[in-house]
Structures are given as structure tokens and as C-alpha cells.
Symmetry: C2
Subunit: 462 residues, 2 copies
């Protein structure tokens, strides 16, 4: 019997689900409802479009529309899903003219993604203030950059998107100020590494203001004024607000689908919601943490692809399980790559471990070979068991930082100890590594510190 799979959302999770459903069941009737005209676009690529490094936005598509429809997937573009009737198994959708229709389903997959968090900040709706997330919003920013040629920009938020946009706007010759309310940029890594990122930003001409809470944005002649605590104020031509995202769950709520952490949709590891025949995946759902063995909210493109794949397989009768996230992520900021996986010290404490975090800085390849850069790593392990809990890294963007964090991610996946990391048979040639890879040098340093502290503790006891 032909299964009708209806998918709401045409970004990473939605298209992954559609492709997987068709790959598993050639007879499945798969329809994807897409709110705009841009199915399967790489939202992670938007900063590189706005920098001008990717001049043609069409190239941001993971796949062309034709590739998707050639896989036997029906695309319903420029349609917005309005409400779910979970009893009659129908979703009402409307097109741009407002005309409604009812789409039936046997299995429904919600992949509605996330939307940018809107801080409670007066002035957010002024012209020249943008929250980046969609293609449409990016076109507006691109239009402003090209036609109004702003000379300065303030970015509120020093997270991934904020810093990528700082890089992008500097690339376009615009003066950039980043304002972060936390004590250092990239609060997803420890402060000592965050300081390295801040230095990199400043070296490229970005003004970085930390520990500053923005209070309002006001119009000041042709410019915008961004004001904060203690009389802080700055005039600028353009404001980008990038203070995180939150799950888009308005549609799910029409079917009384249960939500949890940060109001993300609760799902099982099979990506089932609490409502029969309805799955959900991607930035709109809670994410199972492989290490913590509990749900969290960690919207990432990699996770969206994996969850979409699981939902798509299960929508046509499969029994796939999402293996869980480790929170592995990497971002490029100018000439640095910044990466992490697993838990940081305070997260490990919260999870009931007795963590020790040790920082190690070594060369990313044999220093005698030209082009070596410093690679700073912070490893977190359990003091008692020696188990690896997490890793953070900051290094040269072409120093294989991203795939080095992946060695740690693969080690975490297998519950390795820091001691056994030295048993891994990793590759070496002087232009690319050392006989002990930095991954292993940092693990050996962790073990050395652990032993030293244990001796010190025992000495105190005696």
C-alpha cells in the first residue's frame, strides 16, 4: 500500500526525511511543503553569500529543485502550513494569495526549523535592523549592503552567526562592532579560548565589546544608535541581531503536540512526537544527547540531517533510531577554526561528573616545516575514571582543527578514556602533524595533570 508522507519544511531535516523515505520505499508518495521558494538551501552558507564570497545565492542550494523532484518528491513551494487535524490526518496549507487547501497524510513529519530569537529590545523593527535566518531576510540585507553601502555595522551577539557576519562584513570593507553581553565572545567555549577569538577579531579590525547588555536601538538622523548599560552608546548604519534561535512550533501547537526544553517539540529517538503518525525533526525538536542520556536543545545542521533521515525512514515503516548528539560543532572566524564536542567543565559538573579540564597548546604540525600554527586545546575528563568528557579547540583554519575535533567526537562516541587516546593509530607526516598527534599530546598532558593532582591530594591527606 502506498504511504502518503507529508513533510512540513524544506530545509535540512525536511529534505533529508523526504529523500530517505523515497530511498527506503520507492512506492511512497512524498510531499514537502515549503514556506518560500527555496527548498534545501544551506542556511549555514548565508554569511558567505553576504560576504560576497558566494556571489550567486543559487549556489547555496544543497540540491537543485530538479534533483529533488527527480527523486520522486513533490514540492509545494510558497505554501504555509496553518493547522494540523490529527484525527482526520489532514494539514491545512495556504498559498501566497491566502487560498487554503487540506492535504491528507498517513505520516506527517514536522521540520519547521527555528526562528531567530527576538530580544525584548525597543527599536528592533526600525529600518536597518535585521534578524538573519531566512533567504528573504538575507536578500534584504544584501540589498541594503549593495545599494545603501553602509560604512559601519553593529552586530548584537558574539555567537557563531554574529562572528561569521563580522568576518563577512569586514570582507566587504565595513567597519564592524560586535557587542556581547557575556564576558567573552563565543560563550560556547571557555573564556581562555574565547579570548583567542577576540584577539583574532580585533586583529582584523573588529571592535569587540563584551559584558555589555544592549538596551535599545533608536533612529538618529540617517543613522541608528545602539545604547546599553552605563551610558554606552554607538552610532551605526546597520544593526544585525544574532542572539540565538528558538524552535518554530506554532504549527505543532495546533495539534497539541507536546513541547519541552526551550519549547522544542518532544520526540522519541525514533523522532516520534506524542501524537500518533506525527514525527518531527531538526531545529524544531529536542535533541537526544548521547552522552547525557537525556534531551537537550542543540539546533545544528548536522543533527537536522541525521534526525530527518531517521524520521523519513520511520515514516515508511522503518525502525531507525537517532544515535544522539555530542554537540560537535566548528566555526570559521577569519583565519581561525573554533571547534568543540562533548561537555565543558561546568556542564560535566551539572551532569554529575568530577571533571578536570586541562589546556594544552602545541604546534599543529612539526614546527620545522613551514606554516605551523599554534593549536590550543582544552580537554575535559573525569578525574576518577579518566573518561573523556569533552574537547574544545582553537587553531589555524587550515590546521585540520575541524577533523581533529572529530577524532575526539569519535572517541566520545565510544566512551574512550584519555589514556587510551594514545593507543589510536593516527596518521603522521611532518607537514600535517607530529608523531603523536596534537589530539594525543593534549590527552597525555591531561593524564599527567590528573596524576600530579592525585599525588598532591594524597600528599595533603598524609
Amino acid at each position: 500500500m502506498m504511504t502518503r508522507v507529508l513533510i512540513i519544511g524544506g530545509s535540512d531535516a525536511g529534505i533529508s526525511a523526504a529523500l530517505r523515505a523515497r530511498a527506503i520505499d520507492e512506492a511512497a508518495n512524498v510531499t514537502v511543503v515549503v514556506a518560500d521558494r527555496f527548498p534545501n538551501y544551506s542556511l549555514c552558507g548565508l554569511p558567505f553569500y553576504l560576504s560576497g564570497e558566494v556571489p550567486d545565492w543559487h549556489r547555496l542550494a544543497h540540491r537543485t529543485e530538479k534533483e529533488i523532484t527527480d527523486a520522486g518528491i513533490h514540492l509545494l513551494l510558497d505554501h504555509t502550513a496553518r493547522a494540523i487535524d490529527p484525527i482526520s490526518h489532514r494539514v491545512s496549507v495556504s498559498d501566497v494569495s491566502g487560498r487554503e487547501e487540506l492535504l491528507p497524510y498517513d505520516r506527517l513529519i514536522l521540520a519547521t526549523g527555528a526562528r531567530p530569537s527576538r530580544p525584548t529590545l525597543p527599536g528592533l523593527s526600525l529600518p536597518g535592523v535585521y534578524l538573519l535566518r531566512t533567504m528573504e531576510e538575507s536578500f534584504l540585507v544584501e540589498h541594503e549592503l549593495s545599494s545603501l553601502t553602509p560604512r559601519s555595522a553593529v552586530i548584537i551577539g558574539g555567537g557563531y552567526i554574529g562572528l561569521e557576519m563580522a568576518d563577512a562584513l569586514i570582507y566587504r570593507g565595513i567597519k564592524v562592532t560586535v557587542i556581547e553581553h557575556h564576558a567573552s565572545v563565543l560563550k560556547t567555549i571557555d573564556v581562555s579560548l574565547g579570548k583567542l577569538v577576540q584577539a583574532e577579531l580585533e586583529q582584523h579590525g573588529v571592535e569587540v565589546i563584551t559584558s555589555m547588555r544592549v538596551e535599545r536601538i533608536t533612529q538618529k538622523g540617517a543613522q541608528l544608535q545602539v545604547s546599553g548599560a552605563h551610558g554606552f552608546s554607538i552610532l551605526t548604519d546597520l544593526v544585525l541581531v544574532a542572539v540565538g534561535v528558538q524552535p518554530a512550533t506554532a504549527l505543532a501547537q495546533t495539534a497539541q503536540i507536546q513541547t519541552g526544553i526551550q519549547e522544542a517539540i518532544c520526540v522519541t529517538r525514533k523522532m516520534e512526537t506524542n501524537v500518533p503518525a506525527i514525527f518531527a525533526a531538526g531545529d524544531c525538536v529536542e535533541t537526544w544527547h548521547r552522552f547525557l542520556k537525556q534531551p537537550t536543545y542543540l539546533p545544528l545542521g548536522t543533527t537536522a540531517h541525521k534526525q530527518g533521515r531517521v524520521a523519513g525512514e520511520n515514516a515508511v515503516g522503518g525502525q531507525a533510531q537517532f544515535a544522539g548528539t555530542l554537540g560537535t560543532q566548528v566555526v570559521k572566524v577569519f583565519d581561525l577554526a573554533i571547534a568543540r564536542t562533548g561537555l565543558r567543565d561546568e556542564e560535566a559538573v551539572a551532569a554529575g561528573f568530577d571533571p578536570l579540564t586541562v589546556e594544552t597548546t602545541v604546534w599543529d604540525h612539526k614546527v620545522y616545516y613551514p606554516g605551523a600554527h599554534r593549536l590550543s586545546m582544552r580537554l575535559t575528563g573525569d578525574r576518577n575514571t579518566g573518561r573523556l568528557l569533552g574537547a574544545q579547540m582553537v587553531g589555524y583554519v587550515h590546521g585540520e582543527v575541524a577533523k581533529r575535533i572529530d577524532i575526539f567526537a569519535t572517541a566520545l562516541f565510544h566512551d574512550m578514556s584519555l589514556e587510551t587516546l594514545s593507543d589510536l593509530d593516527l596518521s603522521y607526516t611532518p607537514p600535517l602533524s607530529s608523531p603523536w598527534d596534537p589530539v594525543q599530546m593534549s590527552a597525555q598532558n591531561w593524564v599527567k595533570q590528573q596524576i600530579k593532582l592525585r599525588h598532591a591530594r594524597n600528599a595533603t591527606r598524609e
Copy 2:
């Protein structure tokens, strides 16, 4: 009681053993006998010294002499060990003047390394013909390159050292011909990937002659003539012979220490030889293969460090075990990195598996972001169990090839299946990867091919 640890050999395995012994037991009396004046030199760095990329050879030292002696290690430089008396626990050594002395030991570690294989080839001793391995030999080649300024060179052997030297000599503006007796260069990878390497060599002006057995080298006026089968002959100014290495075991033989594969010293996983109180490590020993569960001969710097560490720990009473090699390796040739780990198809057959090898070529990061290069991967897995058996890769040298092979190496260490590779939470940002890393895309392609072949097989049966 103070343990006297005597180590013969001052390269990777010897110095690692010495450092580990001292780290574990501060009271240990550790002496390293070094045949030349260059303890702890990175032999893997010699091609980069000869290219001129590392102008000062002193920088090739992993550690300075002072760093080693500051760790409490005695260095006996310019001394050659001549014979072991395993009964009285003494080793006779001689200095450059020929004066002998007897050194006592409680534990002896042989780290005598390997020497270049000398093919049975008339003309090997002619001036201008070199076998690269030691610092001294490299000085002679450097002297010839600098003072005689040869305009052409023939490299016999298209393995790692041969190709690194081709890169190095082209860098110095010398015309290079590589002669390989196998059907493609780098016979440690499959031919389809070897062809990519050959194309890279040719693009950089290297003449590559494959399937050619060299028969003799003769003097022809001021030049050398290299002749081979079917009337082949070429005139050149310089000949480098790089056809592999063999274990240096003359010293071990004075104590009737057992040897095995390729006459390498037989050792347990604790790096014990069959003679009491004598350990051995590095390029002179058989290497335990983690996957094959049997010894092999795979001389690599990474392995030497690991084995030295185990031998050093056990020499002062430890119980460490060498975890085994997977044969992980990487080499840079011009703008390519070539890497492998685990088994290739024919090796897997020999080991009793029913292997399937699938080749996949994808971009090393999102193609919309500038600077993407093609990454070619060949994955070998067991057709029945889906278990990962090995991986080979050729890609852009700054495309994170080396650390991508390490993800496979870490997966092999944990006996992962190709299916579960997609469960790994790997990092992603468009300038550095894709939402499914190439590692995962190639694994998914392998699984797809496996299923397709299984269906085809079943269809044939029906």
C-alpha cells in the same frame, strides 16, 4: 633499587623509551647509545631539509640534546653497539676511534631501526648514487645538490620517500624522473588512486615511468646511466634509490634474539624479545596488527613512538601493552595528501574476509564556498557483516585528508560498521565540510552499493 636501562638507538623508539622510563621511574639510570651525533632527529623530515624548505638541519630534532639530558637521560653519542652478552647483561660498544667498552644493564632496549634496502643492482656504489636514511647520508646529498648543482635526478622507487624526494628536488629546480617497477606509483594504495598521484607528479613536471625494472647503473662520462628492461636507458646527474627499508638486526643476532617477518625482531605486545631482560621497539621489530591479530612488518614513526613508550615503561617494571597498528599513514606529494588505514581489498581477502571496495569522490567542503577540491575515497568493508575494514584517500593537502583518515582509524579501532559511521556526530561549517562529512558520504555510498549487489545476487538466484 635503581634499574639500569640501556637503550641502543637514539631515534624515535629509543628516545621515547628513555623518556617514558624516566617519567615512570625517576630513579632509573637510563643511557642511550647513539651511533651518530644526532639523537632524536626526525628522519621523516629529511626530504624537507633536502628541498630547502627546512634550511637549518638542526631544526629537524624532535628535541634538543639539552632537553634530553635535562630529562635525566645519559647520551652516549658516536658510539656503536657491537655485541650483546645476554648472560652477563653487558653490551660492548665502540667509539669512532675503535676503542671498546662494556656497558652493563638490568634491562636492555634495542631500538636499532631500519636501513634502506639495497637492491641487487650493479652500480649502486658509484659516486652520485645515494640510499637515503641517515643524517650523514643526507649531508652528502645536500653537499652534492649545493656544490655540484645537478640538473637532473633519477629516483628509483615510487614509494613514500621516493615521491617526497621527487617533490623536494622539483622544489630545487631539478628535472626529476621517478622509476617504479609496479604498475603505478605508491603501491600501498589502489591503482585508481595511484593514477591520481601520478597525474599530480606529471603536472609538476616529474617524469613517471611505471612497470619498469631497473637493471644497472653505469658511469657515462660525467653522468650516470640508468638502464632497465627492454632497452630502457636514461642519463642523469644524480640517482636516489628508495626501494624500502629492512630491519637493522645485526646487533640482536649477537644475542640469538629471534627474528621473524622480513627478519624483524619478534616481540610480544609488551615489546619483550625471547631473551630475558631484552626489549625491542621501532623499525627493527615486528609490529602487532590490531586488526589482523598477528604480527606484520610496518615501520612507521608513529608506531616507533608508541612501541618505545611501551618498552620504556616495561623496562622499569611496567605492564604496558602495545595496542597494535592499523597501518595508518599519510604522505604529502606536491598539493595532494594521500592517506590510508586498515586493509585494502586483497589484504582483506588474505585475512579471510569477503570484502567489497567502493570508490566515492566528493568535494572536501561545500562547493559553493571558494577553494573546494575533490576528495577521492576508497572504502573497504566486509560484504556480509558490513564491518569497516579499511580506507584510502587522495585529496588536497589542506583538505583535512590526514585527520579524515584518522576518523576512519578511530572507527577501525572500535570495530565500527560502515552503517554506524553515519551516526557519528562530526563537525560542520561550509568552508570545511558538509552536513554529512565526506567520511560519512563515502560510507553511505558503500552501504548503498552493498545493498544493490545483494539485491542483484538474490535476483540471480531466483
